[in-house]
Subunit: 266 residues, 4 copies
């Protein structure tokens, strides 16, 4: 490759997140050496995403939400895909990326959708019970409630208890907690699930709905990594999701011959 | 790992695409040994996606569209990201996957959006010129027309010429070609681009709009692979997109001290 | 975002693949408008990867290899992961990228490893049967031979027949075919599989081993796309690889209490 | 899609990480409701990866390492690729996955390589200075030392200070710190960088080298997410890494004509 002559700089990315000079790294203005050993990992997450440090009480609430969603086993497609990747001879980061790539609107978007619903209900002109009724008329599913697998999501109670405590201590207002509990009451006996409970937390803490997905990604990445690592250590090779002779129901055409005449597109 | 006892099968995936038995592979019913050396790569693509083989004329039109979109150089984010990945010590497949992952709604979706527009215009009750006028009232950009870089996309003319020939030979109806040319006339002097021209082809050939994105992925994967390979062969290491001292405009807060008091979230 | 002042250009990527000027796109020097409708998709692939156009006979052999490997059903992790992604609300390109990301050393690397083996055997000073014996002493598995599922891979015969014809026509030398058949003879009754057969083709055509993986990616992307599309069309949501209550054997610790004393790391 | 008859269960994945029953989620045996609000995010990470909870002192050291590596700006390919993805209309999780996919051997592997080096030096029969000399004879670069951009990595001092404190408090043995400092002394004036300092921490805490990469992934995912989010919020569309007219140095063949005779492969 030939030598390059760099004449001037072209600034293309603009960022307020990090300032880097030779010998210096500052996150949102704070020199990194002031932060290492001084702030927690959730505080660092909040700082980068929001621009300022959270109070310790805010950070603890965020931390509880992050801890709650770290893993749900190989029934989750993100976990299963990462385990499969780990048997395919790709790097650990590639296995994690594979799992994270699956946290899309359907698998990873419920928290975001739940936050949007809470916000819509909060902004509605109607009294809350009527707003909920109206919402149910237009939406088949209420995101953040019920669960395919758990009659009652074991993560709901501890998370909502923490929110209630935070309301008592004046850390958050509780306006979203109230709304979510009212929804839960209206659709009883279907309880809130992990997405609904973390949506309440993220909304109370002032995060925009889209970041609910991002925070779920950071949380679930832990379980994705752990599962990929476990599968890699087991030494399995080329594991599809299920033993091969058992895999697919074939619903296609019967065997046919290419030279019996190719039928053009109807 | 302990032994596994498999008692019965669970059919979970249902597919009409491929039937696999020990010693047998059939694609849409055709034994693979009948297809190898007998059908072209575009014919195989059509067969898997559509269920039947195309006529040779149909296959040639598809092939032209696939060839046309294979590459557009490192200015395309998909190409650049794949080149960067290739310098980061990941496998060639991971570099390709990185590039393909970027062919989203904005970067890879124009063909799909152009097809949807052609379909909307075809299905409109209004006469075509009025339908186009109406469409322009509601949409800021017309997908498939104009280009950031090319005053006139060099791929437009050869592609549309092939469609015109196919119309003359009765291979396709030409209804979408007519609509697209009418749009081009209405917004002159902005010409059709690669996405518009391939949208015409895919629409004439009966593909649904969403598959325009899929076909663009298959086409652009060729350039993505070639660029990743070229960068890998060059021996470069950890190349960001641009020389480091030149990269980012910093727009964040001035340096500040952690212990001057942490300001809580406003 | 503030305006940018671009003072000069910084050339960072160097490429011989494509030259782009306003109104012009040239692949390896050929204006794109000369290629559209004139060369086949496999010829375009060869041109970008190798720098020159192949002869029609060379292109046909490449095409046969590409067609042969397009799909192997949901038992392949790449296919299964893409199907799962398609149920998770990500774009079609993201589902394809997910599948391609799994074509790593183990799942997608056999062709490359087979080519390397053929090359090592060709370059050995020992007579071929002894070189094969020596190779078997150092390597547990011979890549390109045998198959988890097929007693005899149905893709072997048609592919090797095409190579033999190409040898007769003087298109390729046949040196790798001879070596591969000798290996197959030495380890009988284990036959060559798709990776071995395509490795012979790619080696005869002069591709480096690493590009065997890249070509397999281009080929398998077709099946990955088709399966992702089929699953998306089926309307399934959040499909893990297997019904949830059936998924994982739990081999971890019995239930325990956090407050019975946290045991530090041994 | 037809109904499925599930006759029995097939256990395919085996995991010790999480046990899930209806209404129950246990991580390494601990019911999730005991962990939420009770353990920190780094403690949860350690629990899933290692099987037991760390002591608070161990958790703090891990936390410092995670905080230290969260971001290094758009000069890092992982950050730049994620920013590009965010302009391409893909979901936030897809942008993060894109960035994480680039944390391969070269970009993300230095911590793992540094840990392996520390382990090799520890296990060597030679006295440490001679072992280092021997290592330098066989390896061109010492992973974990020096930095492209920083004459002195500002993350080194605070991290090593924390390790020294942990040694004094008997939390870790200090054997890897000693080795790393001896290496730094031997190659002075090249100081340890972030990868070397975190390698010391992870080694002291008993993590295997491969997990250094995984932990770097969890840490850097925070910056990747924040940058993708920032770019998404800026409203930019299809941003390649650099303004288009400035991008590539073309080093390929001069313009040529397809019909001047196609030259076969030499």
């Amino acid at each position: 490759m030939t030598a390059r002559n760099m004449i001037t700089a072209t600034q293309w990315w603009q960022t307020a997140l990090v300032r880097i000079q030779p010998g210096e790294i500052a996150l949102r203005g704070y020199p990194i050496e002031q932060l290492i050993g001084e702030i927690s990992f959730p505080q660092a997450i909040w700082l980068l995403l929001r621009g300022e440090l959270p109070t310790p009480a805010q950070a603890k609430l965020l931390e509880a939400a992050l801890v709650a969603a770290v893993d749900h086993g190989p029934q989750a497609p993100s976990i299963a895909a990462a385990r499969m990747a780990a048997t395919c001879g790709v790097g650990l980061n590639n296995a994690v990326a594979t799992g994270v790539n699956l946290l899309g609107d359907v698998h990873g978007g419920a928290g975001q959708q739940a936050m949007s619903m809470l916000r819509d209900l909060r902004d509605s002109d109607l009294p809350l019970p009527k707003a909920i009724e109206e919402y149910r008329r237009w939406h088949r599913f209420l995101p953040g409630f019920g669960h395919r697998f758990h009659p009652r999501d074991p993560r709901r109670d501890p998370l909502l208890r923490l929110v209630a405590e935070a309301v008592e201590e004046g850390v958050v207002s509780g306006e979203y907690l109230v709304i979510a509990l009212e929804v839960e009451h209206a659709i009883a006996p279907v309880p809130m699930n992990i997405d609904g409970a973390t949506a309440v937390i993220y909304a109370e803490l002032g995060f925009p709905p889209e970041l609910a997905r991002g925070l779920f990604v950071l949380s679930r990445s832990v379980g994705i990594l752990a599962h990929a690592w476990e599968e890699q250590q087991s030494g399995a090779r080329i594991k599809g999701p299920i033993p091969r002779p058992l895999l697919a129901d074939y619903t296609g055409p019967a065997l046919r011959d290419l030279h019996d005449g190719r039928k053009p597109q109807p």
